[in-house]
């Protein structure tokens, strides 16, 4: 019999009992699908106990990268999923656009903790659950993290902002005075990290506004600060974002910047570029980064565990050397651990026990916490920054 004949016969048979045939096929397929659905997971899918739990974090770039979290992930069979932001305002906006409980861990700069609390985005924390006793005195009751007697954020790292400079052009001594920015050899070679707060903070220190804080200034001091800043305009070579700041210091396009520090030059130096940062004699600004627990988080225990890990000696060694940008440790055991693990880095970041160290700068009152303006509105400062860029 030919193939055509066979085909015809089959067609006739199917036409004769169309419904019965279709039903059989559907039944058969249904049975197979059901059997597969029941059996396949047993064979192919590993038991649920082994599936990694997800912990959601919102942070500056770098905090969720493998160099920071891989050990914790392996220890707790957890996958840390990081959402990165570019600035505190951006962080607040991202959280406000997400349903409550989206982020288990919220990393923020100190000055934004109060805003996070006021907006109801974070939960209170029990200080007894963290390594608070290991903190240097300067950080054990860090004002920005406490609202009254309640703790809302646990500090992880900090750093200083002052003058960053090309060591081939400017000496350490010269850079130790903000007035170097007005030097004729820096015409067109002064850069700005494009954020008003650290820049205006440093220039406010240059104007002598160190008591109580460069951000707590009167109307007259604010006017003077605007005048000072505008007078720097002819020296300015550009305003840069994070990548642009790196590139401009690295390729020698910019010789000096104020309002940044080792968090940038520490990385640029690793590439062999002749750059460094100093805290000028008029003082410097301090940044801090701390973790809070997101309101509505369903994985609070795991989030607490992560905070305990990252503030432990092991976690601090990673944080101090974070690949994206380095930061200093506020924990005594962190200092001990980095001195054992990488004494050179401990020395570079001045976390040594013999001789002057980075905490001494705080004790001497040379470092001021970066904060939003106290007597002017944030909008006033921002508006002026736009005017300055356009001047």
């Amino acid at each position: 019999m030919t193939d055509i004949k066979k085909h015809k016969d089959r067609s006739v048979a199917q036409t004769a009992q169309p419904d019965a045939g279709r039903r059989k096929i559907i039944k058969g397929a249904g049975a197979i699908t059901a059997a597969s659905a029941l059996s396949v997971p047993m064979i192919l899918v590993p038991p649920r106990a082994n599936a990694a739990t997800e912990l959601n974090m919102i942070a500056w770039y770098g905090h969720g990268e493998p160099d920071m979290v891989e050990e914790f992930e392996a220890m707790h069979n957890v996958k840390i999923k990081a959402k990165y932001y570019a600035g505190g305002d951006n962080m607040l906006a991202l959280i406000s656009q997400s349903p409550p409980g989206t982020y288990d861990l919220i990393l923020s700069d100190g000055e934004f903790v109060k805003l996070l609390k006021e907006a109801g985005y974070i939960d209170p924390m029990d200080p007894n659950e963290y390594n608070m006793g290991d903190l240097y005195d300067e950080y054990s009751h860090f004002d920005a993290h406490w609202m009254g007697d309640t703790l809302y954020s646990v500090i992880v790292r900090f750093g200083y902002l002052g003058v960053s400079f090309n060591t081939d052009i400017i000496s350490h001594e010269e850079a130790s005075d903000y007035n170097i920015l007005w030097d004729s050899k820096l015409k067109g070679k002064v850069g700005h990290f494009d954020w008003h707060l650290p820049n205006l903070g440093c220039l406010s220190l240059r104007d002598g506004n160190d008591k109580p804080s460069p951000f707590d200034i009167s109307s007259a001091e604010w006017s003077k600060l605007q005048e000072t800043t505008l007078s720097l305009k002819p020296q300015v070579g550009g305003y840069f974002d994070y990548g642009g700041t790196f590139a401009s210091l690295k390729n020698g396009e910019i010789y000096a910047m104020c309002g940044i520090g080792d968090w940038i030059t520490g990385v640029v130096r690793k590439d062999g570029s002749p750059v460094d940062s100093v805290i000028p004699k008029q003082g410097g600004i301090q940044w801090t980064e701390s973790y809070s627990i997101g309101k509505g988080s369903k994985k609070q225990d795991l989030a607490k565990e992560f905070i305990r890990y990252i503030t432990s000696p092991k976690g601090q060694v990673r944080s101090i050397q974070m690949a994206a940008y380095p930061g200093m440790s506020p924990y005594k055991s962190g200092w001990k651990a980095i001195n054992e693990a990488n004494p050179e880095e401990a020395k570079r970041q001045r976390m040594t026990f013999d001789g002057p160290n980075c905490i001494d700068d705080l004790r001497e009152g040379r470092i001021h916490f970066r904060q939003t303006p106290v007597r002017q509105s944030l909008e006033d400062w921002n508006d002026f920054w736009s005017e300055y860029k356009n001047a």
């Binding site: 600035g87 550009g238 840069f240 642009g244 401009s248 020698g252 396009e253 944030l378």
Partner: protein, 282 residues
């Protein structure tokens, strides 16, 4: 007497996708943008409402108008420079080279678009910085160093990177379609080479030349990458002002004001240019 064209179901069906596309991706977002410009920001959250405060605030700021006129000027210069640089190239490809060379040239004009514009812009920094390739070459002949980065020159290099290949292609398409018999007729009637170019070829290729210029203007007017990464954001353009406005205080409504003004400016210029391109010679 003008005949009124009838809208047929057939024509309507075929034109529907573009109408729907424009409605979904242009008209509705534009309306939304306009609405946002009247909203307020409270505690970093946008609150729907109707308040003209954002318009008043932005229009009263000197830096907004500075950035507006500067952006307009930058885009104008970019348009003129790009059109002038593109024309000889497009002309040569249309009239002076073999079809094979033209095909290869077209290929090489399109190839740059395979790479991200941001990457191409960043790579210019290696050429333009003080210790970059250009200044190293200048130094060999005892010149420089010249400031090529973080100024308008750097920005212009970025605009050219973005627009020049596209404008050459647009001009080429137009020039390639110029009726050769008209060019020959001009020559036969004693018209000189330059006069033929400007009085015969350019008017015949007017549409492509104007469209190329319009594209340059639109792209340069709204570009953020070149003024930021090659111009050093010094001084800022409107696109940088939008970023600044959203970065501090999450002032999206004020950024929307800037965006609406930019769109209205571009629409005005585009309609005027397209009108000029298709206007019949009297």
């Amino acid at each position: 007497m003008k005949q009124r064209r009838q809208v047929t179901l057939y024509g309507l069906t075929w034109s529907m996708p573009i109408v729907v596309w424009q409605l979904i991706f242009f008209v509705f977002p534009l309306i939304f943008l306009l609405l946002i410009s009247f909203w307020l920001v409270k505690n970093y959250r946008m609150v729907p409402g109707f308040d003209t405060v954002n318009w008043v605030k932005m229009f009263s700021k000197g830096y907004f108008w500075d950035a507006y006129w500067r952006t307009l000027g930058y885009a104008g210069v970019a348009t003129i420079v790009t059109s002038i640089l593109a024309f000889p190239c497009a002309f040569a490809l249309a009239f002076k080279v073999s079809p094979k060379v033209r095909r290869w040239a077209l290929f090489f004009l399109i190839v740059p678009f395979f790479t991200s514009y941001l990457v191409r812009t960043y790579s210019w920094q290696i050429f333009l910085n003080d210790n970059g390739i250009f200044n190293t070459l200048f130094a060999l002949i005892g010149l420089g160093p010249f400031q090529l980065l973080n100024n308008f020159f750097g920005t212009l290099v970025g605009y050219l990177t973005l627009c020049l290949p596209l404008v050459v292609v647009l001009q080429l398409i137009s020039l390639a379609n110029v009726d050769r018999t008209l060019v020959e007729a001009a020559h036969n009637l004693g018209c000189g080479r330059l006069r033929t170019v400007f009085q015969v070829i350019v008017p015949l290729a007017k549409i492509g030349i104007i469209l190329g210029a319009v594209f340059t203007f639109i792209l340069a007017f709204g570009d953020f990458v070149s003024p930021y990464y090659l111009g050093g954001s010094k001084p800022p353009t409107l696109s940088i002002l939008i970023i600044d406005t959203t970065k501090s205080g999450q002032q999206w409504p004020r950024a929307a004001v800037v965006a609406v003004v930019m769109i209205l400016t571009l629409l005005t210029i585009m309609f005027a240019a397209v009108g000029a391109a298709y206007r019949k010679r009297t």
